[in-house]
Symmetry: C2
Subunit: 308 residues, 2 copies
Amino acid sequence: MIHPIVSEVHHELQRIVRTDSPSLQRIVDYFLQQRGMGIRPLLVFLCGEIVSAPKQNLLDLAAATELLHMASLVHDDIVDQTAIRRNQPSVHHRFGEGAAVLLGDYFFGKLLKVISSYPPVLAEFSETIESLVAGEFMQIDQQGNSLLSQADYLQRIYAKTARFISSCCKIGCLLVDVPPAAQSLAEYGYNLGMAYQIIDDLQDVIGDPNLIGKPVLQDLSRGIYTLPYLHSLHQTPSEPANRSTVLISPEAILYTKKTAASYISKSIDALTAFKPSETKTQLIHFALQQQQKLDNLQEESCYAPTLH
Amino acid sequence: MIHPIVSEVHHELQRIVRTDSPSLQRIVDYFLQQRGMGIRPLLVFLCGEIVSAPKQNLLDLAAATELLHMASLVHDDIVDQTAIRRNQPSVHHRFGEGAAVLLGDYFFGKLLKVISSYPPVLAEFSETIESLVAGEFMQIDQQGNSLLSQADYLQRIYAKTARFISSCCKIGCLLVDVPPAAQSLAEYGYNLGMAYQIIDDLQDVIGDPNLIGKPVLQDLSRGIYTLPYLHSLHQTPSEPANRSTVLISPEAILYTKKTAASYISKSIDALTAFKPSETKTQLIHFALQQQQKLDNLQEESCYAPTLH
């Protein structure tokens, strides 16, 4: 179920990105109909509410984070050569790379407009953009490297995902100046973001393509090695180097699930200092939903292709 | 000759875009060695100086405008499929489209960091980005349309070039709040920007590839119709439609030069209200340099290819 605030932000976004250019509007509309789950706006909103930041400001910041996420998705799909996003051809696949580059830039411009009224959050957005770019470059640098350590993998998913989600969770605090709460919410977001990406990566291995809206084994077949794969490789180092597939064992999948579950549990712990409230319950519920997603994934073994 | 302030901004930029990622730094260095003329930082600086904006702030804003220009160049080269920039393979040609997309995004992130200390200029940057994107979309929409009016062409070069150059000229005023000066400097920049793009387009027709750092007839061969071409077409409407080349007459070239010269003259007129100063002389000198570039282009006729 979509949270009412996510629908509200979606309408706000449609207004913000309206343009006089018919050809741009066509691409904007195509992109917007591929609605995401809106987890970033939702987290901006709930975490901002728990520190009593004004609702209208939170709506603006929620829209801004979603604009950055949209820009990043459209551009990263070019970088990663992702053909399918949310069960539809990705923007660059449908309209060409040039149009996708410009669409992302257009979202950047709109992001800048929205945050221009909130000077305290500018540096935060700048650092998030840098982190997203750094994460993509780490992915490029790590591609095809089966000697990758777990620490390198965790650093990459931090830069690509957890840093941004953590930022969404603390951004409302930058408007009301509550440093201890900002620290707790940033920690909640960091742990949630790490779990979120590990689950996403696990879905690439054993997910249901109809549920996740994209084909499976996309990452692994491009040499983007994720936790279940790296764990399997490290467990069976004597595997002949010329095999074209690697067995991802149920044990590796279990290990991955345990790692994600541990992040989820730490995200809930980070909220301890907040007194009980409906918003706190929703934040905990959001973390538990991730656990539910994780529990729904079966520990089947799976053969993953390696790079040739 | 490179103005000392342009070298100063270049060093500042090298510092700003330094990164821990070796693969990103390699691409950054490649791009930065293709040094441009730095006309935007120079204009930010001179126009800011004429209204007594503080030098350190102007250096920051000059770096910010150059960062935006850099992001826009790297991305537009993907959109326009430009293979050669400043006598070297363009970034996407050398490192791939993904890397070029990320490099532009990295520059956006750094731009945001630099301007985060200057809230009054944020909306201005946001509108410039929108205008740059709108200009690229106009170009895509107008591509191959030989019925394009001169007004449509002028609107496109305004969005692509003159709007940004005008913004560079007035941006220093946003720090010191001098509305009449801002208006005059914006007008100076608008006219200079229009002239600058018309000259650039004319160079695509009759320029010396060694001097301009890229092959000629690139725009026309891709159906991007510019003033000399549109004027020639409108002068000879009975031209058979199946001809694969169109004669750009000396008359059309003369017409284009007169149009550019008229913008140059208006740019100088816009400075009338400023009292004589070394800075004012430099701004006039800059406009006269454009006139010199124009005078150096010969009115030879030229056959331009049309789209098949």
